[in-house]
């Protein structure tokens, strides 16, 4: 079956409920040749299940195909960023954090504060791709935790790394800090380091990076927005 994800034609045959449901919005009738072929190695899934008994077959298929996709994405000037992506006025803002650091909460707050103007593009693993000199953020079937994930894209405006705190404060990150943060929030297969490093080089030079300490109030959103817009 053919899907259009991050402006690429992806060929894959989902069997599990989760993957079928989440990839449905990406189905395409296009007759373009597939850019990425995701062959689901059932043998590998069995092994994955054995190593992670708390996961269902369904989960394994979902996670595995996601990994295959994001690795292949590196061959198309793209990468995964572990972040919540919010589109406001058709521009995407990414919020990254340590696990449980509050990025989903913060993204949801944006939606609350800006209402119709804002919505969540992907709650967990948006795809970033550099197309025609611009970084674009895409939703993918592999949003991860919840269903908050739409098949759409927006140009990337800025990226912020969140930390929970009592005061709302936002500062710019240095290139070095941004790099370290990104490396911790993406897939980095050694075999693709050449491609990934060039992409990171461009990303850090072209997009502003911030560090945001915030609480869970509407004020946090305004503090972030004022700096990042």
């Amino acid at each position: 079956m053919k899907y259009q994800i991050a402006s690429l034609i992806v060929e894959m045959r989902p069997e599990g409920k989760t993957l079928l449901a989440r990839s449905a919005p990406y189905l395409t009738a296009s007759d373009r040749k597939a850019d990425i072929q995701i062959n689901i190695d059932r043998g590998q899934l069995v092994r994955m299940r054995k190593e992670n008994p708390h996961l269902t077959d369904d989960d394994c298929e979902y996670i595995h195909t996601g990994e295959v996709f994001y690795k292949a994405l590196l061959g198309f000037d793209g990468m995964l960023v572990h972040a919540s992506a919010v589109a406001l006025d058709r521009e995407a803002y990414l919020f990254s954090a340590k696990s449980g650091g509050g990025k989903s909460t913060h993204a949801a707050l944006w939606q609350k504060v800006f209402g119709e103007r804002a919505h969540i593009v992907n709650d967990d693993k948006p795809a970033l791709r550099r197309i025609d000199g611009k970084f674009m953020v895409f939703g993918t079937p592999w949003s991860g935790k919840t269903d908050l994930n739409t098949n759409e894209s927006a140009p990337l405006k800025a990226i912020a790394f969140l930390e929970q705190g009592t005061k709302n404060k936002i500062t710019r990150l240095s290139a070095k800090e941004a790099l370290l943060m990104l490396l911790n929030q993406t897939l980095r297969p050694a075999a693709e380091w050449n491609r990934l490093s060039s992409l990171l080089d461009r990303l850090i030079k072209e997009i502003p990076f911030y560090k945001l300490t915030c609480d869970i109030s509407a004020d946090a959103v305004r503090c972030a927005y004022d700096a990042m817009r």
């Binding site: 290139a175 070095k176 941004a178 790099l179 370290l180 490396l183 897939l187 980095r188 297969p189 050694a190 075999a191 380091w193 490093s197 990171l200 080089d201 850090i204 030079k205």
Partner: protein, 86 residues
């Protein structure tokens, strides 16, 4: 003096980054070199020994010769400590 196989230096947004790509599937650490560190690293990649490194430093930078010797020795020690040299 040789750098272990699989370590590569890349410049990313003005920073000199070394990661190990020869080994694990995903690397779990990165090293940052400052300007002279990267200068020395590039020569180490070509197989320079300690004396050649000091000489190169002296030619390129305005540094007294015993400082160059000391700097190279210390730098190599740090690299050894990071497990990057053979």
């Amino acid at each position: 003096m040789k750098i272990k196989n699989g370590y590569v230096l890349k410049e990313i947004a003005g920073n000199n980054i070394v990661v190990e790509v020869g080994g694990k599937v995903n690397f779990n650490g990165m090293m940052m070199l400052n300007e002279t560190g990267a200068f020395l690293w590039k020569r180490l990649e070509k197989g320079a020994d300690q004396a050649e490194l000091a000489a190169a430093l002296l030619e390129e930078y305005d540094v007294p010769y015993d400082k160059a010797d000391e700097d190279v020795a210390l730098f190599l020690q740090k690299l050894k400590g990071a497990g990057v040299l053979e």
